[in-house]
Structure formats: C-alpha cells, structure tokens
C-alpha cells in the first residue's frame, strides 16, 4: 500500500500547536503501522481486532481528553485529530474508541460517584475493561425519550428490565452504561455485564462496520445495588450530553475516512493507465477529485473552528449537529464517488474505499441520523419544532 498522504489544502497544519501535530502524527503512524495491516481481514471476517486494545491504551487514546488522574488530558482539537486519524483507518476503530471514551468514560466522569470513577475510569483508560453504552432500543432509535427499559426500586437497590439494540462493543464489554426510566425519568446505571439476568447477543450479518462488534443487551430482572445509579444524571439531557461528545468526535472522524478515500483515488488515478494515459488526466476524474478535496477542506475548517470554540467554552450542540451532519453526508458522497473512480478495482478488498463507503452508511445513521440533525437545526433556526411528540 502506498504511503498515506493526508490532504491539507489550506495548510491547517500551521493553525495547530506543535503538541496537536505531534498527537495527530503519533496516532497516524500507529494506524499506518499497526492497524492498516490487519483491518481488511478483520472487516471481511467480521471481528474487531481486540489484541490491539492494549496498544490503543498505551497510546493513551481511551478517554484521553478527560481531566482525571494522570490521563493525557487532550484539548478538544487534539482529541478531534485523534478521532480523524483513527477513522482514517476504519470507522469501526474510531467507534470503539468513541464509545469507550465519550459514551462510557465521559458519563462516569461527569455524572458518576467517586467510587464509580475509581472503580472504572482507570480500568477503562488502560484497556483492562471495555465499556458499552445502552440507549437505543429495538423500537426507539431517533426517539430515545420513548424508551421502554425500566428500573424499579427494590429495597436499597433497583431491578432493571428491558432491551437495548445496536450497541457497539457489547460483546467485548465488562461494563455497560445503561439508560432506563425510573419513576418515568431517565437515569443512567453502571452495570457490570456479568450481572445475573444480563444477556448480550452479538448482532451478526451487518454489511457495514464489520470490524466492530455490535450487540443486543437484554435485562431480565437484573438486580443492581444503590451504588449503580449515576447520581449526577437525570432526564434525557444525560445521555444527550454523551452523544454530543461522541458526535463531536464523529464530525472529525469521518473527515479522516474521506481523506483516506481521497488519497487512495488520487494515487490510483495517477498510476492507472487507460487509453494510453493516467485516468487522472481525464476531466471527469479531475472534477471528482476537485469536488472531494473541496468538501474535505470545508469540513476540516468547520471542525477546527468547532474545536477552537469548544476550547473557549462556546460550542453548542447545534454547532456539533451541523458539523456531524455535514461531514457524514460529504464523507459518504466522497466514498461513493471514490468507489466509482476505482472502477472494478473499487469492489476489491485490496482497496479501502468501499470499506469506508459501507462504514459511512452507519456513521451517517448513528448518533442522530442526517434527517434528525436537519430537524434539530431547523428547530434552532426557526424556533419551530418539527419532530416533537404529537
């Protein structure tokens, strides 16, 4: 495989700190050396390369942005660049890290008790434990507020019943952050996956995110101690704040996937000879490259601005919605176009573009679909709610 040449048309490199560049390069090198050689096999056979978890932990990417103990405490831009570089490898790799960091460690860090933090944060950071996040249900995707999973008080503790679906990392996890209604209000619970009555079933047969584990979680009279509840979270705001963290990472991540695709098709076009000349010399090929690079550049700029806003404390969920929506949409379009530009070779596993294309179908859908983000932004712009409960 040719050496990865990351596109940076507007020299955004010069807007990064030395530290941010070093963080990005460390993850980029790791992905090139350690992940790229194994991803195609993992994807085609449908497994997450678990043996790399200790290396990811050693690198420091698991919850690397959280202000806790001796964690690296990455700033928002450095954290975003980590996501970009991981997803340059595969959306499944970025998903693993996003779930662990933004959806499991973040809520424990933000809403958890000191005991919950001490029990789980170091173990999740060092990769000794894997976590998953249970919000989506079989019948409640875009409408998480309608969830049916329920906790009821039982003596000092709780009893949990219900089911969650499309849960990344489920089958690898030792701990789940599960959102359930208690007296009609959404609360988070930190649930060890070996609790009696807790069943995890892998969802096989995906045509997307094949190098990532997706599972169904089933709770049947799972007894939890009083200490299992996240004391600081009450209502839908809790899980939505986690999603906001994860979506921030997705906006950066999918640009990495688009950059990988762009680099692959550009290099391909320069070496693939048809009609006696490189196909990159044809106007149609050039037009597609230009469109792709332009959209990548715009998304890179939006991400960097979003990161600097986050640093200054001025980012809103609406900024994140727009960046996630835009980046996913264009990354998927770039991957679809890229697949086409590779001709017949584009369906072969030797090229990564179609893998990214298939992955991005999921990434565009999860953590708020394109249309849901459109409605969130529409409501923000007009003040009129187009999707509130009837």
């Amino acid at each position: 495989m040719a050496k990865y040449e990351a596109p940076d048309f507007f020299d955004l490199d010069s807007l990064l700190t030395e530290e941010e560049r070093m963080v990005r390069d460390a993850v980029r090198d790791w992905v090139s050396d350690r992940f790229m050689p194994v991803v195609e096999k993992a994807y085609s056979e449908g497994y997450f390369p678990k043996d790399l978890i200790p290396e990811l932990a050693e690198l420091g990417v698991l919850g690397g942005n959280l202000d806790y103990a001796d964690f690296p405490r990455l700033g928002p831009v450095a954290y975003g660049l980590v996501m970009q570089e991981l997803e340059r490898g595969d959306s499944g790799l970025r998903s693993f890290v996003s779930v662990q960091g933004a959806l499991v460690m973040f809520p424990i860090w933000r809403y958890g008790s000191d005991e919950q933090k001490a029990r789980w944060l170091p173990a999740l950071h060092s990769g000794e434990a894997v976590g998953c996040f249970g919000l989506t249900e079989p019948d409640h995707g875009s409408d998480p507020g309608g969830m049916e999973t329920k906790a009821v008080r039982d003596g000092d503790g709780f009893v949990l019943n219900g089911a969650k679906m499309w849960i990344t990392n489920g089958n690898m996890a030792q701990v789940a952050v599960v959102w359930a209604k208690l007296d009609g209000v959404i609360h988070g619970f930190v649930v060890p996956t070996d609790a009696p009555g807790f069943t995890v079933r892998e969802q096989r047969g995906k045509h997307s995110l094949r190098a990532s584990v997706t599972s169904e979680l089933i709770f049947q009279d799972v007894r939890l101690p009083a200490s299992a509840i996240l004391p600081g979270a009450k209502g839908l705001g809790g899980p939505l704040s986690c999603l906001n963290q994860a979506r921030y990472g997705i906006a950066w991540g999918v640009v990495g996937a688009a950059m990988a695709v762009y680099d692959e098709v550009r290099q391909y076009g320069l070496t693939r000879i048809q009609f006696g000349k490189p196909i990159a010399s044809f106007q149609l090929y050039q037009a597609k490259l230009v469109e792709s690079l332009t959209e990548i550049t715009k998304a890179q700029l939006m991400n960097l601005r979003m990161g600097r806003l986050k640093e200054a404390g001025g980012v809103t969920p609406y900024h994140v919605s727009m960046a996630k929506r835009n980046a996913c949409h264009h990354a998927l379009e770039i991957a679809r176009t890229g697949r086409d530009m590779l001709g017949a070779n584009g369906v072969a596993g030797e090229y990564q573009t179609m893998r990214h294309m298939c992955n991005l179908e999921s990434v565009k859908t999860y953590e708020g679909t394109h249309d849901i983000h459109t409605l969130i932004l529409g409501r923000q712009i007009t003040g009129l709610d187009a999707f509130g409960a009837a």
Binding site: M22, E58, G60, P72, R73
Partner: protein
C-alpha cells in the same frame, strides 16, 4: 546513570526527494521530517538503560535548524528528561557537527553518549566516532546489543557474521545499529508531558567543517525492462541483444 543522546532531524525516509534549483540542496517543499531512525533507537535504548538503573537522566542533544525542536519534543515525549538545542540553520558536514556537539556537551555530566550509527540523509556514519575523538573517549560503533555493569559497558556488534563482544570503559560513545532497541510510539500522555520538560537553546560555533558539498544529483533513471517471450524467436533476440547491445557474448 546519566546519558546524552545525539539526534538529527532528517527528511522522512519515505519521501521522494528532489534536488533544488541550486544543485546543492534538497527541495524542501512539502517534505516531511523525522528523527533519524537510528537516533530514535539510541533514544529508546537510553530510556531503557535509565529505567533499568532506576536512577539518572536522558538528555537529548541536536545541532540543527530551529524547526528541529519538533524532533527534540518527540524524544521528550518518548521519555527523555531534557533537551539541548544548538540552533544552526545551514547544512553541516560531520566534522562541524561533531565539533559543535563537543561544545554543547563539554561541561555537562554524563556516563554514556549514544548516537545513531548514521543519519539517514547523508549516511556519513562519522559523527559518533568523530565526537568520541574530539572528547577523547572510547567509541564502539554499529552496536546492536548493550548492557551496563558498573563503570563498564558491554557492547555487541556483528563482524563478518559473528558477534563481537567488547568491554568498554565509561564514559564512552556508542553508536546504535538496528536491533539495539525498537523505538516506542510516543504516547499521548508523553506528548502532553513533553511540553513541560526543559528544552534549552544554546549557541555553538559551527564553522569547523572540513568537507564542502559540491553538488547533488539523483541516480540515473533506470531504463525500461524488456520482456522476452520463451519462444525460438525470443531466444534469438536475446542472443542478439547480449552479443550486439551488451557485448557480453
């Protein structure tokens, strides 16, 4: 154990270089830079020796352009304790580099100096031995195994397919060959911590050069290969080519 490691900022070994218009330098447009890979092994080995000793320090030193701060920060992110940067923008030959390093190192305390066996740009493999000579220290070059026992280092290197094992009095200069250590990825924690580690900028006299770069050129492009079919006609054309074009028959 106090260890000094000399490192150099070089063009990424995967870069396809172009000669600049002056015919004497590399066109640096769009070029990526890295710490020379053998220097990286030396840094890694130094960190391992310090950690095994449980005491001491690793100081990285470079003579090079202001931008080489990046390579020093990388070494600090890997785990070195502090760094010294003698800023020289112009290209330096090995004599001038060794002389400048001597100026930087003189007056500092150390038990061992490690260098890469050669930088991967000009491949002189001379700075380590020249530095040892300038400092009046013993030198073992091309070392792939190294342990320290009190005031003695045991260095291993390959000679004619055999392993040569040498005892050398410390302080000494050792240059790293492949196999000495595999450089770690600088982790994010290390990178974030590197910013807070001391990086001292010093002056040096870099005029001690005894070689001058006259010109640079790329190797001649290879001619296209000729495919000869395994047929009687093909064999005939092969014989003709060997006899008439190559004149080897």
């Amino acid at each position: 154990m106090k260890i000094i490691v000399c490192v150099k900022r070089v063009v990424d070994t995967e870069t396809r270089v172009k000669v600049a218009a002056d015919g004497r330098s590399i066109d640096l447009g769009g070029v990526q830079f890295i710490m020379a890979p053998y220097d990286e092994m030396a840094v890694e080995k130094a960190i391992q020796l310090r950690d095994a000793a449980g005491t001491g320090s690793v100081t990285v030193v470079t003579v090079g352009p202001a931008a080489a701060t990046k390579e020093l920060r990388t070494a600090l992110a890997m785990g070195a304790d502090d760094a010294v940067h003698a800023v020289v923008e112009a290209r330096m030959g090995p004599n001038a580099t060794a002389e400048a390093l001597k100026q930087v190192i003189d007056g500092r305390e150390y038990d061992l100096i490690l260098c890469g066996k050669q930088a991967t740009d000009e491949d002189d493999a001379a700075v380590g031995p020249l530095l040892a000579a300038a400092l009046g220290l013993p030198c073992v070059a091309f070392v792939h195994g190294l342990t320290v026992d009190g005031r003695t280092a045991i260095a291993e290197r390959e000679v004619d397919g055999e392993t040569e094992r040498l005892d050398v009095d410390l302080p000494a200069v050792i240059t790293a060959q492949k196999g000495l250590a595999e450089a770690r990825y600088p982790g994010l924690k290390g990178i974030m911590a590197a910013k807070k580690k001391p990086l001292e900028t010093v002056a040096c006299d870099a005029t001690g050069g005894k070689t001058e770069l006259r010109s640079l050129e790329l190797p001649p492009a290879r001619a296209a290969m000729v495919k000869i079919e395994p047929t009687a006609a093909g064999m005939q054309s092969l014989l003709t080519a060997l006899r008439n074009d190559k004149k080897v028959l």
